[in-house]
Amino acid sequence: MIPFTLVTKNLAKHKLRFVLTVLSLAVAIFLLCVLRSLVVALNAGVADAAANRVIVQSKVSLFVQMPQSYGPKLKLVDGVSSLVRWNWFGGYYQDPSNFFAQFATDPKELFDVYPELYLVDGTKEAFLADRKACLVGAETAAKYGIQVGDSFPIIGALYPTTDGSAWDFQVAGIYRSKKKSLDENTLFFHYDFLEKSLESGAASGPDGVGIFVLKVAPGYQPVEVMSEVDALFENGPQVVQATSESEFQAQFVSMVGNVPLLVSSIGGGVMIAILLAVLNTMLMSAREQTRDIGVLKALGFTDGSVFGILILQAFVLCGLGGALGILLAKMSEPGMARAIGSMFPGYQVTMPTLLEAGGATLAIGFLAGITPALRARALSVIDALRAVR
């Protein structure tokens, strides 16, 4: 039998201490959620990768383009139903710090190969009709206040124009994606526009194709398509590497290095600090309750009951803090996504993250509550009654 009023009233006895402990817990759990969400964002593309897309890229380097001539050859590979070229543009808006991804791509095929892509504003027709048109991710559009019909001047760091001016893209649509395989920060524009500008000498920069994305027709095995593609260019001029989309995304995660390790180290530090803080509070509180515990035992409450009273206090305290932290993490989600979206596209506080945070909260509650609870359980009535209040 556990007198619950005693649990809540003991917690509320030192209001300031209670509030401060709950707030520090909230802050720690919030931090944990944010850190975890960064790792999730990093891996989001892997999890949501489509099975019927094959990515073809240079085996040598991420920064090496493949010859244009590869396109027609790839289209002839058995099982390839359509193909999209992607080329990294590497520009920025107004200032180099306003960085986000821009790609030259094939507008028509883009919608076919990426069915998860849809427009929230503007029309596909408008995008296809104008060679200077572009699609802008909803997050980027919101960040820079860009709307359909605007012109979006991008300075080409990798593809500088001959006269030094910015590339003038016309915003034909704002897109979102139903899956994390595409982020909502990117700008897509016509590959032809880039190609013609290079040919005419209006701009300069590396010629070629960054990656080819192949859509595999139903009934064909992507693995077979991959090996056929690999074999096709085995002897150069550029050796290629055909991979599944999930492997391609995983490569990026691997390239970014040991971010998950860094993040878990920090998370570990946060958890240790907060555990010590909550333990401190629980020990203080338990010490003040020593005599009460003696009284309860004298009245006939069992050792199990007083154990329960003490550990429940820890759980209630942590539950409140944890819930507040989780709420904070969830509420700050849109803001955080906007703030760090260009570096961590797809920042999202997912259910597993929340569950993990909940688990961490319970673990802290348990670890912080168990010592005083065990002590209370083992305390003899006589000793407890002798304790000074």
């Binding site: 720690a28 380097s61 500088p160 150069g236 180290s265 920090i266 946060v270 401190n280």
Partner: protein
Amino acid sequence: MALVPLSYNLRSLAVRWSATLLTVFGIGATVAVLAGVLALQQGFETLFTESGRDDVIVFLRQGATNEGDSVFSLERAQILMKSLPEVETPEDGQPLIGAEMYLAVRRTKTDGGETNVPIRGVSQRSFDIYGDGVRIVEGRRLASGADEVVVGKKLVERIRDCQVGRTLTLNTTPFQVVGVFDSDGPFASEIWGDRDRIGEALERPVLNRVVAILKPGTDLADLAARMDADPQVPCKVLTEKEYLTSQTSALSFVLRGLGFFLALVMGTAAVFTATNTMLAALASRTYEIGILLALGYRPYAIFLSFLFEALVLGLAGGAVGCVLALPLNGVDTGAMNFQTFTEVAFAFRVTPQVMVTAVVFALILGLVGGTWPALRAASMRPTEAMRRV
């Protein structure tokens, strides 16, 4: 004016040793995490800035922020190199100027993941220019015009096939690893090969930067202004030190941001803990405060006494944090250089600056956490304080 003897505080901390320890370690964990992130940032920054030389001059394409973005065609590079009378010419009659090719290539880590390793195509002139900055520590220098490479020391353990005697395949061409070189800077994470052979193997007939040593007394600002306006090959001129420093900005920004964010969030939690502990100290010493006030001690003396106690907590926490972070010093790690998207290896550096920052941070935590309890202690009336037992 009489101050409360400081030994009272130390004794008070010792009596409530469990709360003191938990608080000190709580602050310690917070400080250690911050110090760890700062040590990472210091390690990264030191690697780049301290190895850079003021007398080595780097020429990049106008508008480029790094070697990856900077491209010179072979002809333009030749024109550029011939248009520089400022270049130092030693007795052998060959000017100390060399063009380099740079590309981040895909390599497999020894643990299986994929990463981007910079490969630098150089001529013998580069070795002359860097002098002691690049030292062969195993095997030999590469021979001119041969399919050979030397690898940076930091790659030997981390990257597959980067050991003397092994063969590295670039695109379709096999290269023999003939030596290992060391450098204090990021070069130690690079692969170096013969410029012409690498360019041919990668099907990349371009150059990325030109490096030179100038005649003593050359005015760099004049040269920079001239090259900026050069009608044939306009380019950006900066010292190697300036160049390397600019390479750290993105990651340093991220790490500083992370450090600041963590300091703010974890610091809040640590302040709450410190406040809790000081409030407990206040509660258990109420009677003593009453006596001190009755004896004629002024409230501000009580205030200072409590603040001092909080500062001792902070200082001890800072010391614990430094001790916890110190083993990180010298530990090798890798991080992504966001500018070139390549991974560089470096060691954590717990510099005096990091430690001072950590301790100051800890003191601030103690100060902020102690202010409110100290104010409360100082605002007690003697009669009230002595009654409350």
